[in-house]
Symmetry: C2
Amino acid sequence: MLQPVLPDVQLTPTLEDARRASIDLASAPTALKNAALGAIADRLRGSVDTILTANRADLAAGEKNGLTVGLLDRLALDEARVAALADAVMQIALLTDPVGEVVRGSTMPNAIKLSQVRVPFGVIGVIYEARPNVTVDLAALALKSGNAVVLRGGSAAENTNRVLVALVQDAIESVGLPRAAVQTIDPFGRAGATELMKARGHVDVLIPRGSASLIRTVVTEANVPVIETGSGVVHIFLDESANEQWAIDIVHNSKVQRPSVCNALETLLVHRSAAARVLPGVLDKLTEAGVTIHADARVRALYPTAIAATDEDWSTEYMSLDVSVAIVDSLDEAITHIRQYSTGHTESIITNDLGNAERFLNEVDSASVVVNASTRFTDGAEFGFGAEVGISTQKLHARGPMGLPELTSTKWILRGSGQVRA
Amino acid sequence: MLQPVLPDVQLTPTLEDARRASIDLASAPTALKNAALGAIADRLRGSVDTILTANRADLAAGEKNGLTVGLLDRLALDEARVAALADAVMQIALLTDPVGEVVRGSTMPNAIKLSQVRVPFGVIGVIYEARPNVTVDLAALALKSGNAVVLRGGSAAENTNRVLVALVQDAIESVGLPRAAVQTIDPFGRAGATELMKARGHVDVLIPRGSASLIRTVVTEANVPVIETGSGVVHIFLDESANEQWAIDIVHNSKVQRPSVCNALETLLVHRSAAARVLPGVLDKLTEAGVTIHADARVRALYPTAIAATDEDWSTEYMSLDVSVAIVDSLDEAITHIRQYSTGHTESIITNDLGNAERFLNEVDSASVVVNASTRFTDGAEFGFGAEVGISTQKLHARGPMGLPELTSTKWILRGSGQVRA
C-alpha cells in the first residue's frame, strides 16, 4: 500500500496507538481473544446501572434535540438490551477464529512452500449512527478477527458510547491485551470523522453503517478502502406463472415482518399476465397489515385504493410500511427496472418457469438473488455466519452478508532454502 | 451499491455501452470467450505492419517530446513483441474460466438451497501508462473473466492503442460478442481519466497500473473502488544467522535479475552481528554487477566505497541498479524499519533461526513474506496463476499477485419453494 500521507493532525496519536495494538492482536491466540470477549460480557452485565445512566443522558438530550421516535428507540438501552449485548459478545466468542486459516497452498516446482494465509486487516474504522449496539458488536467482531478498531459513533449516543468503550477497554486490558485495540474518536467530533476517512495508510478498511446519506458521504469522501453496506431498494418480481399463495405469503413476509431493515421489500413488480390473478390477493394482505400502496396507473386500475406513485418512489428505501408497485410487460422489463433502481442488495422472483428463474438469477446484478422465497433471508445469521458485520452492497472484497472472514485479508508466505529466480 | 450519480458528462455513452456489453459477457459461454481470444491472437499476428506503423508514429512523437530511454523501450513494439502479445492472449484462453465457480454452498434448515457463485465484476476500468502490452493483456483478461473493460492508456501510446483496440473490437465482434466489451477513452484525454475515477455506479472496479505517482493520483482522486497495484519498496533482512552463500545469491538475484520491476530489492537490512561476516561478500557481488550502494554510516565503515544514503533513500523505489543498505541492531529494529518504509509488497528474511523466521512471517505486514528465497518470486506466473493482472499492495479484495479469479466478485443465490422468515 502507499505509505501514510496523513499530515500531523489530531487523530495521528490515536491511529498510531491503534496500529501498535493491531500488531499485538494479529498474533494473539484465539483463547486470549475469547477471554477478552468473556471479560467484556461480564463487565456489561456488571455495569448495567452505569450504562443506563449514561444512556438516559443521551435520551434526554435526544428528546430535547427533536430526534424522531425511531432514532430514540435505536438509541435506547434497558436491562434486557444490555443483557442481549452481552449475549451477542459471547456468541462471537463461540465463532471460529478466521485468523491463520490456510486458504490455498502449493509447493512450487523449485520446492518453495507457498501458502496463502488469512490475516487480520490491521486497523478497521467504523463510522455509524446513534446505535450503541454497534459499538459493542463491532468491538467484539474486530477483536475476534484480530483487528484494532477505531469507532466514530453518532454524537447522539456520545455518553453511552464513552461508557461502553471504557468498559470494553478495561476488559481487554484485564486479560493483557492493549486498551488501544478499541478506541473511540467521538471526542474529535465531525473533524475526526473527516480525518478518519482520509487516513490512508493508517486505516486499512473503513465500514460505514447507517443511513444512505451517511454511506454516500463516506463513499465519496474517503480515500481509504471502504466496504459499503446496507442500503436496500429491494424488489420482488411476480412472474406470469407465480404461485398465488407463495406470492401472497412471500410479499407479506418481505414487507411486513420487519419493515425497518435493509432486506425488507420496497418495490413489487408484477407481470401484466399475472396481475389480475395474483395482485388483488397480494395487495389485500398488505393493506390488512397497514401497508400504504404507492402504485402506477395500471396497478391503480386494478386496485383503486392505492395512491399514485411518484417518480421518486421507485428509488426510495422506505424502511416503513410503504411499498411501490408497478406492472411490467415482461421479464426483460422487470430486469431492466431492477437494474435501473436497485441498490444491488436483494431481489426475488416468484415463478414456476425454470428458464425465467435462471435468467433472473443470471441477469440481476445484486448481492443476493432469490427464487421463490422471502427477501428477508439475506442475513448473516440465516446464512449460518453466527454474527454479521453488515451486508455489503459493493462487489469488491465482500458481497452480501459479511461474517468474521470478511474482516480479514490474506498474506502470501514463501518458505525457501536459498532459491533464486532463473 | 449506490445508484449512479454521474451527471451528464462525456463518458456516459461509453460507460453505458460498457454496462450493456457486460450483461452479454456475464453469460457468455467459455467457448465463445475463448473463440474471441483466438480471433484477437489471429488478428494481432495478421496486422503486424499496421501495428508497427502506428507504433513508429508514437515512438517518433515520444522522442520529440523527450521520453526517457526506459519509457521508449516500454512503448516500442517489433515483430517479436507483437507475436509475444498474441501468444499471451492464447495463454489466457487456456486458463480456467473463473465465472460460475461455486465458492461455498449449503442447504438452510428451511430447505432453501444457498450457494455463493463467482460472477464477473461487470465493468472494469484500467488507467495505465505508455505500455501497449497492457492494452492487449487487460482486454484479454477482462474478456476471459466475463468483464467489459474501459481502458485509459498513456497519451504517448495513443496511436498504437487506437489500432490495438480497434483490432480487438473487430475480433470480439467477429465471434458475435459486443464491440463495447473493450473500449478506450484515450480520445477524451485527461478529463476522461478524471471522469472514469469518479464514475461510481458505472465502474465496478478501477485498476491503476504504472508509476507510484499515477497510482497515488488514482487512489486519492477516485470514488469508485480501486485495486492498488505495484509499487514496491522491497526489503531483505540478513539475520544474525544468515547463510552467507544464500545471502550473496538471494540479494544479487533480488536486485540484479530484473531491476525495473516491482518485486526487485530496494533496501537491504543487516543484523549488526552478521555484518562483518556476510556484508562484504554480498556488496562485492552487487558492485561487480554495477549496483550503486547507498549506505548508512555503519555500513560505510565496513564498506567505504559505498555512497552515503539520504533520508529519502529509505522510501525510494529505485527500479534501477541502486540499493540502500543499513545495519540494524535486532530483528525488532528490522521489522520496525520495514513497517515504516515498506509499501507492503514483498519482504524476505535470510536466517537459520526458526523463531526469527516465524516472527518475521507474522509481524511483517506485506502481501508476500519470504524466508530464504529471492523477492523476485512474488509473481503470478511463479505462483502458477498463468497470467497476472498486477500485484495488489492493498488488503481489500486481493493481496499480492492477481489472477483471473481476482477479476471477479461473487453473488449469493437462494433457491426456495415458498419459504418465509419466521
